[in-house]
């Protein structure tokens, strides 16, 4: 029991023994194994194996000779270092990274300016403190993260692997593995590096790997060792050969190399390499030669985070930042100019003015100017001092606050109960942290169909055999049972049950009694045989029952194999040489003589099987469009016609259809095929094309067996979600690879299309016809009244003519006026093109959602990319900004969280502008009364703490927590989403209103005490304290006035912040060595202080309060009305009334 072999392995071997007597082999082929799978190696999207690798782009690896391999080029070793810093490099490197942020550089420049003695406005400590604080916090966070990375690196590097050295396999730590070494990996081990397979425990050279760590896909993938290396690898010592492969790159689906052994050249593709991070499964051992190690492995090269995007709001905000900078420069110029005028008019008296006294007479004999460098320099210095004093005009703290707020928002999004997916046990993921608020402004939604709108859980629904439709359903009670078969006392059951048609079931049970039954059996045999599914037998709690689980890359194939199993054709074992099918309790072994894998050109796949009755048959399965052309129409015309009709009916129901055909091959045909297949699969150049040609040649004159219809079930809540999004004013575009009828029927079932929509179908085969139909469509759309809504349906062929062409504009115009757009037969690369078409022509935000690798380009192209963590692996998630389990979560994501985030962030930016500008203006007004010198009555510590401590916390809390409307009303009135689309939460107009308010408020805060204390004994510190407290109170009350939901956290933040500011002011004033010692106590005991404070608070906020009310009352925004509804619903409105109101609201907008 030390090392249990993979469970199904032993079972299948037992069966192969038990069924040995039935095994039939071709005499001439028995010794030869079929080299299959290399065909699939080069689906041309991913590799370019046709091309020779140029010497300068290649690396040479001598197999089992690491010394020679590393002689000329010292390839990277296998130790990895994800940690960024070492103890010594931490400080400089971390600082360097942190200062990549412009905000920090600004901070630093200001702090440095302040260190010049002529410009020293703040004390050293006060000027550096905020920057130091922020840097320190980030550095601690980085250090901790790096420490953890160091630890995991160490663990990773010290793992052990078996390396062939001195004629035996020795354990070696991962970090010492070198390129060129031969490594042995055993079952369930993780691969230490990228290696080319030499041999495996399987005699045909197959290995199964799980790539969960790499791309998240949990199904098993097959990889192959080359036939030529299989035997040679038994004697590794004499193994002599080299591999010439491409330079390291991050494409995990591509690999291109040539191997030369014994003077023979073999070409290697992605199916011959296994990558670091994969796990070996169901294979006892595998031998491979290291080609990429350490940081050059594909896994490590892919180890970078999601691409960073910038939010629209932040980009918009930069304009206002520039305005603020101009404003800052204006203030500084004013200060410098007025100072210059004063110095000029008093230039003769500077030595005698008591409060200036230019000369330092202690320097003998004449006296020297103290801290005076001449008129020009004084202006210059005054200007820069002003920049230092007014630095927070540019709200640097805003950037940090925004980051914190986004983290907070992301926390709440990920914790949202509504966006948790039970079936995949995944909660919402925020992968990009800087575009939360973009979710509130989406105007265009591009959605993939399969796996996104639908579950991608295929269910076999109907079969059409010999033109006869079998789509009846089994009565409910017998559904419990499902098909099972007993083999050697063990009951085998397919893991998934399929509903069966009783009449068809009966038919298959008849054996080959009738012609019909024979056809039915043939049909299911084809389904069970013609695929690339790997059956895996798993145990259940009952030792006598085992489940057969079908693993494969295509869910359609899975569904078909399960269906075949339900009718008694249980696929039990697959090796590269044969498959074992249990046909109604009878084991039958078929030799796999050839396999042409699916490619998107042929749109079909085929296998050539040596059947138990010694015949050789070609089974072909593929899309109807590609299948009918290769059928033998003469002999089976009527069946084909009947099938076509049936297929049309199926696809109108939204079912996915496939057609199955077969042909018996005679010996000459087979021989001919065999030799050309051999030649093609060993060809070095253009292998994929040659193989396709071979497949094309043999896949002709087929006899039609039947057709299948698979239901691609819509995900739960998709129709409702699409309807909500449509009402919210989001244009939904569905991009699918399905054919037009299927796409349209899915469109109807998902409520993307409705019966009262006029459909414009563009379905052209040439540029001219495409142009004509588009222009016609454009004209008809332009002519139409707004009453009729239009759906645009366009197929991939037409899109080829449209994209990258002047027709893009026409299409865009038509699409803009359509309420739904459906693109069918779209190739993956076109998806990004369609997104780009819209993105480049409008400033509206786009969102793309998808689940598969083919959606990655579209997800990255769109402003916001959402990945569905579903069936098709995790590439989409890895490329996305947000990831979730179900399409319908888009509704709460956009309508609720997006709405909130946008409104919160928009308000926060405006508020931060206001908050800092108020303070700066207070400082500025004072300059007009200090002889134009940059004295601040407010202590320097208060200046520094103002934006960090006194006022920052509430805005962050409100930015995370405030909700302008409740979740319920946002979901029931999707139109409220328009707030973000119309950019009502943040605009230049709002900015200017805020700035006017700012000027008024700062003036009131400054001048009320000024006039009240004019000509009194008030001292600088006391007045400064009054201004500080007044500013903090006003700024916080201003926020309080705009807070919509007062929960205890909001209360704590706002009132706590005022209290904190007062405490800070008190603390500063109890330090005896500061000039302001005890000032706050002196001033706060006078009535005057409190009278001023009260007057300030009321006067500053009065205009805002009145105008806010007037606007909200007489020009109510949608949000305001909805808030009233939300608030008053409970008491003033009868429930009945609300109901009709809702209907009224639900009416789709006609704007």
């Amino acid at each position: 029991m030390d090392k249990p072999p993979p469970h199904h392995e032993s079972i299948s071997s037992r069966w192969s023994i038990s069924s040995k007597d039935k095994e039939v082999t071709f005499a001439d082929l028995g010794s030869k194994r079929i080299r299959h799978g290399s065909a699939g190696a080069d689906s041309e999207m991913l590799s370019m194996s046709q091309k020779e690798i140029k010497d300068e782009d290649a690396r040479l690896i001598y197999i089992n000779d690491p010394d020679r391999t590393n002689e000329t080029f010292d390839f990277t070793g296998n130790s990895i270092k994800t940690a960024k810093y070492s103890v010594f490099t931490f400080l400089p490197r971390n600082l360097f990274e942190q200062f990549h942020r412009v905000a920090y550089v600004y901070f630093l420049v200001i702090a440095v300016l302040n260190q010049l003695p002529q410009l020293a406005v703040f004390g050293r400590g006060a000027s550096i403190m905020p920057l130091a604080f922020v840097l320190l916090v980030s550095a601690i966070k980085d250090a901790y993260e790096d420490f953890r990375r160091h630890r995991s690196d160490r663990v990773e590097n010290n793992r052990l692997a078996l390396v062939f050295e001195d004629n035996e396999f020795k354990e070696k730590q991962w970090k010492y593995i070198r390129v060129g070494e031969v490594i042995k990996v055993v079952s369930n081990q993780t691969l230490p590096c990228d290696m080319v397979l030499l041999a495996t425990s399987d005699p045909t050279g197959v290995v199964y790997v799980q790539t969960t760590n790499l791309d998240g896909e949990s199904n098993l993938k097959t990889r192959y060792a080359k036939q030529e290396t299989l035997q040679k690898a038994t004697d590794l010592e004499t193994f002599d050969g080299f591999i010439k492969c491409e330079k390291p790159n991050r494409n995990i689906y591509g690999f291109q190399a040539n191997m030369e052994i014994d003077g023979r050249r073999l070409s290697l593709g992605p199916s011959n390499i296994i990558l670091r991070g994969c796990e070996l499964k169901n294979t006892e051992w595998a031998l491979g030669v290291v080609v990429y190690a350490g940081s050059e492995t594909k896994a490590m090269l892919n180890n970078s985070g999601a691409p960073s995007k910038r939010s629209r709001l932040e980009t918009r905000m930069n304009l206002e930042i520039i305005l603020l900078s101009l404003f800052l420069i204006a203030l500084c110029t004013t200060a410098a100019a007025t100072a210059a005028v004063w110095l000029r008019t008093h230039r003769d008296d500077l030595d005698t003015i008591l409060f200036y006294r230019r000369k330092d007479y202690s320097v003998k004999p004449e006296g020297k100017n103290h801290n005076y460098y001449g008129w020009g320099w004084e202006i210059f210095f005054t200007f820069f001092m002003a920049v230092i004093v007014y630095q927070i005009m540019i709200p640097i703290s805003l950037y940090i606050s925004m980051e914190l707020v986004r983290i907070g928002q992301a926390y709440f999004m990920t914790r949202d109960d509504l966006m948790y997916d039970e079936s995949s046990n995944s909660s919402f993921q925020c992968r990009a942290l800087n575009i939360n608020e973009d979710l509130g402004q989406i105007k265009y939604l591009f959605s993939d169909k399969t796996g996104t709108l639908t579950d991608n859980k295929m269910e076999f629904q109907c079969a059409c055999i010999g033109g006869v439709d079998y789509s009846g359903r089994e009565p409910a009670e017998s559904e419990q049972e499902g098909y099972s078969v007993e083999v050697d006392g063990v009951t085998l059951k397919p893991k998934m049950r399929v509903r069966v048609d009783p009449s068809l079931l009966q038919l298959t049970r008849n054996g080959n009694a009738t012609e019909e039954a024979k056809r039915a059996n043939e049909f299911f045999l084809s389904l069970a045989a013609c695929n690339t599914i790997v059956p895996i037998v798993t145990n259940t709690s009952d030792p006598n029952v085992k489940l057969v689980d079908y693993q494969g890359e295509s869910p359609d194939e899975q569904a078909l194999v399960y269906a075949a199993a339900a009718y008694g054709f249980l696929l039990i074992e697959r090796t590269s040489g044969h498959i074992v099918i249990n046909v109604r309790a009878e084991m039958q072994t078929f030799n796999v003589l050839g396999l042409h894998e699916f490619d998107s050109d042929r749109k079909r796949m085929s296998v050539i099987l040596g059947c138990p009755d010694t015949s050789v048959k070609l089974f072909v399965k593929g899309a109807d469009s590609s299948m009918f052309s290769v059928m033998d129409e003469e002999s089976y015309g009527d069946v084909i016609e009947a099938t076509k009709k049936q297929l049309h009916a199926y696809s109108s129901d939204g079912l996915r259809t496939l057609v199955v055909g077969l042909r018996k091959l005679n010996d000459t045909e087979f021989e001919q095929w065999h030799s050309s297949f051999e030649a093609a699969s060993t060809a070095l150049i253009g292998r994929a094309g040659l193989l396709r040609k071979v497949a094309g040649n043999i896949e002709t004159k087929l006899r039609i067996v039947g057709a299948t219809a698979i239901e691609d079930k819509l995900q739960r809540g998709v129709p409702e979600a699409i309807e909500s999004l449509r009402i919210a004013g989001i244009k939904v575009w569905v991009l699918t690879g399905d054919k037009q009828e299927t796409a349209i029927s899915i469109g109807f079932s998902s409520r993307l299309l409705t019966r009262n929509m006029r459909q414009i179908v563009i379905n052209s085969n040439s540029l001219d016809s495409c142009r004509r139909s588009l222009e016609e469509a454009n004209a008809s759309v332009a002519r139409d009244d707004d009453d009729e809504s239009v759906a645009l349906i366009i197929d991939g062929t037409s899109l080829i003519y449209v994209l990258d062409n002047d027709l893009e504009d026409v299409l865009f115009q038509v699409a803009c006026k359509s309420s739904a757009v459906l693109c069918c037969r779209v190739a993956p690369f076109q998806k990004a093109g369609i997104v780009a078409l819209v993105k480049n022509r409008t400033s509206d935000m786009t969102l793309a959602i998808g689940d598969g690798a083919n959606d990655v380009s579209m997800i990255q192209m769109a402003d916001v990319g959402v990945g569905i963590s579903g069936q098709e692996g995790r590439q989409a998630v890895m490329a996305s900004d947000f990831a979730m389990g179900q399409f319908r979560f888009l509704v709460p994501l956009l309508l609720v969280h997006g709405h909130w985030n946008y409104q919160r962030m928009g308000y926060m930016i405006l508020y931060n502008f206001y908050r800092n500008a108020v303070f700066v203006l207070i400082l500025f007004w004072y300059v007009l009364f200090t002889c134009y010198t940059l004295t601040t009555a407010i202590t320097e510590w208060s200046s520094v703490l103002y934006s960090v401590v006194y006022t920052s916390f509430p805005t962050i809390v409100i930015g995370i927590l405030d909700k302008n409307l409740g979740r319920r009303i946002l979901l029931s009135h999707p139109q409220l989403y328009g707030v973000g689309q119309r950019a009502e939460g943040y605009s230049t107009t709002l900015f200017w209103y805020t700035m006017f308010d700012t000027v008024w408020q700062s003036a009131a805060i400054f001048f009320i005490p000024l006039f009240a204390y004019w000509g009194s004994t008030i001292d600088t510190s006391s007045l400064g304290d009054l201004w500080t407290i007044a500013a903090v109170v006003v700024v916080n009350l201003h926020l309080a006035m705009d807070v919509i939901r007062w929960n205890w956290i909001a209360h704590a933040a706002i009132w706590g912040s005022i209290v904190a500011a007062c405490i800070c002011v008190v603390v500063i004033d109890v330090i005896p060595t500061l000039p302001g010692y005890w000032a706050i106590f002196q001033v706060a005991k006078t009535w005057m202080f409190w009278f001023c404070l009260l007057a300030i608070v009321v006067t500053t906020l009065l205009p805002r309060f009145a105008i806010k009310f007037l606007v909200e009352y007489y020009r109510p925004s949608d949000v305001r009305i909805a808030r009233e509804v939300e608030k008053l619903r409970s008491f003033s409105e009868p429930q009945q009334n609300m109901g009709t109101e809702m209907n009224q609201i639900r009416d789709p907008s006609r704007r």
């Binding site: 029991m1 993979p6 469970h7 008093h346 008591l354 409060f355 200036y356 006294r357 330092d360 007479y361 202690s362 103290h370 801290n371 914790r415 949202d416 109960d417 948790y420 046990n425 995944s426 798993t538 145990n539 030792p543 009364f929 200090t930 002889c931 010198t933 004295t935 927590l961 979740r967 139109q975 009240a1012 204390y1013 004019w1014 000509g1015 009194s1016 008030i1018 001292d1019 510190s1021 007045l1023 939901r1045 929960n1047 000039p1075 002196q1082 005057m1088 007057a1095 009321v1098 009310f1109 909200e1112 009352y1113 007489y1114 020009r1115 949608d1118 305001r1120 009305i1121 808030r1123 939300e1126 608030k1127 409105e1133 609201i1145 907008s1149």
Partner: protein, 353 residues
């Protein structure tokens, strides 16, 4: 072998785990429900209804108007005598070059007479008021050493004090421009030829006397430099008792300011004539600074200043007016709250905004 197989597969199945529902429930990533994480904390969500707004304005006006009246009364109660003397105290012939006169050696004594307009209750504060004197000038406010004022051992901390930091290498205590420019006009008040006692005790903040200015810090090298800025200090009195200096060192916030000179602790009757013998020593002439002598009582709200009262009345009045205006608007053109016809998607295009 068979037994081996069975148990190993069982182990594998258990390891796979995903099929096992109890395991999956345990590993569920479902976010834990709480009102906080679902952003459903109980909250009050006030909205500005006309009622609340009008009420707010009314409340403000009801508070502000009386406060304004009270403030105005307080200000009116204050009796204040202001006598500007900077010009008058320079003999007519010297007025063409005031700076020369003030820097000269001539006797600066000047006699002033002031009449009490109204009864003044004690304590009556005697202030000097300076105008156009920027005690808040950046150069000036920085030119001090608080450490040095507080303790003897820090007397060498004079870096900030330039250009008045040391004399011949020895530190000046108190150093800096502020101390150097100490105000040094003196007033001797008499009523009916009887000297009015002007108390100089307790004119500075208690906190300053006790903690900010050291009890054992004595003036050193003060006003010994080439030019004298203002007053001198008594050498053997500790700084904590030199209250004129302490008052002066509390730099004024605004260019027009008063500083307390002393207190008269007897009442003054209406039409009392007060004779002031004044030493006009302080040079404000080089920058057109005005000097005034002020005798004033105080109210609970401070000195004579109508601004706050007027401000309160104005704000209160505006609020009252707004309350009225909003009430009328509300009556004339009300809007039903929560009326969906105002929603943008319910308004007829073009007929809306």
């Amino acid at each position: 072998m068979p037994s081996n197989t069975a148990s190993s597969s069982a182990a594998a199945a258990a390891a796979a785990g995903s099929a096992d529902s109890s395991t999956s429930r345990r590993n569920s990533k479902r976010p834990k429900y709480s009102k906080f994480t679902q952003q459903e904390l109980p909250a009050c969500k006030p909205i500005l209804t006309p009622g609340w707004v009008i009420l707010t304005f009314l409340v403000i006006s009801v508070i502000f108007i009386p406060l304004g009246v009270v403030s105005l009364f307080a200000s009116q109660d204050v009796v204040e005598i202001v006598d500007r003397y900077d010009n008058d105290c320079i003999p007519a012939p010297a007025r063409s070059n005031k700076v020369a006169y003030i820097q000269g050696a001539a006797d600066k004594t000047c006699n002033r007479t002031i009449v009490v307009p109204k009864k003044m209750k004690q304590p009556i504060y005697v202030y000097y008021e300076l105008e156009n004197f920027y005690q808040n000038h950046r150069r000036y406010v920085k030119s001090r050493s608080d450490a040095q004022l507080r303790s003897v051992k820090d007397e060498n901390q004079i870096d900030a004090c330039k250009p008045e930091d040391d004399v011949n290498g020895k530190p000046i205590v108190p150093c800096g421009l502020i101390a150097w420019s100490l105000f040094n006009d003196t007033y001797v008040l008499s009523k009916n030829n009887q000297t009015l006692n002007v108390s100089k005790k307790g004119i500075a903040w208690k906190s300053d006397r006790e903690h900010k200015f050291g009890k054992n810090v004595f003036p050193k090298n003060f006003q010994m430099g080439n030019i004298t800025g203002g007053g001198k200090l008594i050498p053997d009195v500790p700084l904590s008792e030199q209250e004129d200096l302490i008052v002066w060192m509390r730099t004024a916030a605004l260019p027009t300011f008063r500083k307390l000179y002393g207190k008269i602790e007897t009442d003054l009757q209406e039409n009392d004539t007060i004779h002031v013998i004044l030493k006009n020593n302080y040079n404000t002439y080089s920058f057109d600074g005005k000097k005034k002598l002020v005798l004033s009582t105080t109210s609970w709200l401070g000195g004579k200043n109508d601004f706050l009262g007027i401000a309160y009345l104005t704000v209160g009045g505006i609020c009252f007016f707004l309350a009225l205006a909003f009430t009328i608007m509300y009556l004339v053109k009300p809007r039903r709250l929560g009326d969906p016809t105002y929603l943008s998607w319910n308004r007829v295009p073009g007929g809306g905004r």
